[in-house]
Amino acid sequence: MIQVRHLTRRFARLVALDDVSFEIGRGEVTGFLGPNGAGKTTTLRILAGYLPASSGFASVAGYDVLRQSMEVRRRIGYLPEAVPLYGEHRVAEMLDFQGRLHGMARGERRRRVGEVLDLVGLADRARQLVGTLSRGLRQRVGLGVALLPDPEVLILDEPTSGLDPLQRIEVREIVRRLAERHTVLLSSHILPEVEAVCPRVLIIHRGRIAADGTPERLLTDLGGDAHVRFEARLEEDPAEPLRLLRALPGVREVCDRGMGGDHRRFDVSADEDLREEIGALAARHGWPLRELSWHRPTLEEVFARIALDLEHEGPEPS
């Protein structure tokens, strides 16, 4: 549905996008993740046909965003970060305006406005002036505007920024519902949100794609070390428990983390959760247990690590 190849965009001296390539298939819901200034908005604007790329190619629904801009614009619903709403319009009027822009007939417009108002939960606010709405409601109106032409592709730029947690959950719910019918590309710099909504995550950093995949895959591929933390009071020499732990099936590595007070701590790396086996082992040998827990890195840690790694690469030649 969305194809991006070797996309580069420069603003004067600044390289905002540097050879970005990715593809998003029909019906996919993709989170576009990255810190502020990473190039998310630039990418989305290029896809929406607002900005031209400096070089490279992007297409939406098979149409080149630069050369067949009109075709692309008819097929996307784009919600920019600054929600574009005319304050002096009523909610329904704003939606109706979008319908007119998309050349919808009167009856169709009326039907779609009703549907969309229900979808974003604003049916009771249809006659309120947009200017008097709260931020969360404005965001919903913005979503409604983007949704109105029933686009094949929805591009949402930071749909939850500036909202309180409750409003965020509401918006997230709406987006999740949309995922059933549309290809969605949404950007955010907040991880849990992307994790909660998107089956696929694209991480962009300093204008480059740093990672691409499902959150789980990203965790396994990049996070790597899920482990069981095992802490017990051991009288004897740690060599024996170490050996026993290593002997357990499925264990890749056991790391002795040394003594913490009377207790000795081990990190047992394995592909699976081995807490039950380790618990049984401790019980058999009468090791008094203080902690037995399954540790898994969060996407946040993965993300931070990517960011740090890239930092360590040093300034890129330009």
């Binding site: 190849r5 070797h6 580069t8 420069r10 390539s21 990715f22 593809e23 400096s54 070089s55 490279g56 190619f57 002096e88 009523r90 309120q128 002036l129 008097t132 691409d212 995949g213």
Partner: protein, 532 residues
Amino acid sequence: MALSTDEHAPARPTGNATRLGIAATVALNLALAAGVAGGLCWLAARPGLRARIDLTATGENTLDENARAVIDAVEGDEPIVVDTFLRPLPAPLDRITARAQQRFVGLLRLAREQRPELFRVTHHALAGAAGTSGTEARMRELGLSEVDVVVVSRGDRKEIVRFLGDVAEIDIGRPANMPGGYVPPRLLAFRGEETIVKAVLKVTQGERPYAYFSWGHGERDLYGEEPRDLGLLEAALREDGFAVKRWESDEQGAVPDDCAVLAVVAPEEALSPRETDFVREYVDRGGSLIAVPGHRLITGAGSVGELLEGYGVRVGEGVVSRPYVGAGGSPVYGIPECAEVVVRAEGMAATHPITAPLRRAERRVRLVFSRPLERGRKPTGGVLLDLLTASEFTWADLPDADGVHRWMWDEEAEREGPFSLAMTARFPPPLPGPAPPAGTMEERPESRVLGLGAPDLFANVLFETNRDFLLNAFNWAASREYRVSISPRDPDLRRLELGSGRGLFFLTMCAVVILPLSCLLFGLGVAWKRRR
């Protein structure tokens, strides 16, 4: 996820060069657009591609059909140079004259649009720091001593048009502090086209018309500077575009073919029968004659009286006199000054081209020792017209037995005014004549005769007073006033009665209060309706 590695779009190098390139393209686009617009405007202003509709009820923006025909008919490449020396007049005339001037300038522009290659129009600045030196130089060049005029010239021929009087007649109204209250000034008549066309015709007519003055019968010297000589007239005629010559039949024989007007001015002796025949033949072929009897009353064959009588103008007996207005306003009789008669506007023919401009401009004609003229048998198919008429407070003073005038009214013997002092006769020439000059509206030539009663009317001593009358007379006689039929247009005079108060109040309320307030209320209404 598999990424295709082929280069889909060729990478466009971006940098300052590209930016410059884009800027250059945009600039080129803009220049192109401006060029196209300029070209379109230029094309649209071409006479052939231009259409215009005049929406005014008075058609004040359109040249009359006849005027267009005259301008179209102008031949030759030499440009017609029009210099305007118009200035804003002081209040309260400022607005109205400015508008009239605008209209006039607009007509000049229309003329120019019709023949762009022919007309060179320059509007000279008369006020302000800039441009006055150039204006002065041009005024010197044209020999101008007055402003508020428009000079139309071509080569060495020029015609001066006075803005007030010739082009626009303005009623100055009444100032507010006068009894009866304020009356705004208004435009009585606007003759822009007429004056332009006449001026154009005057400066474009083929060669100089010849004015011949008969010579050899005691006429006054044509070039002399004595009070009763004709030197000033001769100079003025030359200035006006005439070539002035003497006609002496002994040497030249018949009246020359190029003669446009023949003047027989105050001969003190009779013309020979041969000469009289020459004159008659000339007039009958469509010529023009101006004839004035001399001081000495001659009658019979060869006299001016006999000559004029053939065209229906009889020279009467006596000298038209009036009581001289002495100090204190009391009438004085018995002095030679009684023979000086002044004809004011009311004594002039209103429609005749000689007197109509004078009448409009409220000029006077001063005549001394004038014979009364009477209507005789008019020539076949002709028209007689009294040009100047002395008022009823005049009498035809007859000399006493000794031949001396007493300047006293003898009720029994002497006739009472009004008297005609100048008469014209026009008639279709009985004999075939030369063709009229091109470009005029003349359907066919006609013979013109102007008979005058006062021998000194043309003399240096009275010339400045009567200058316009005399030049008009020669121009008319030489067929140079070209009957250009331009229907007069009345300026728009629809006015709101300011005195009545109610209408004005209503209008003021509407314009200043109701309309803006209704907008405000409407706006408030909309705001109230959409407050949530």
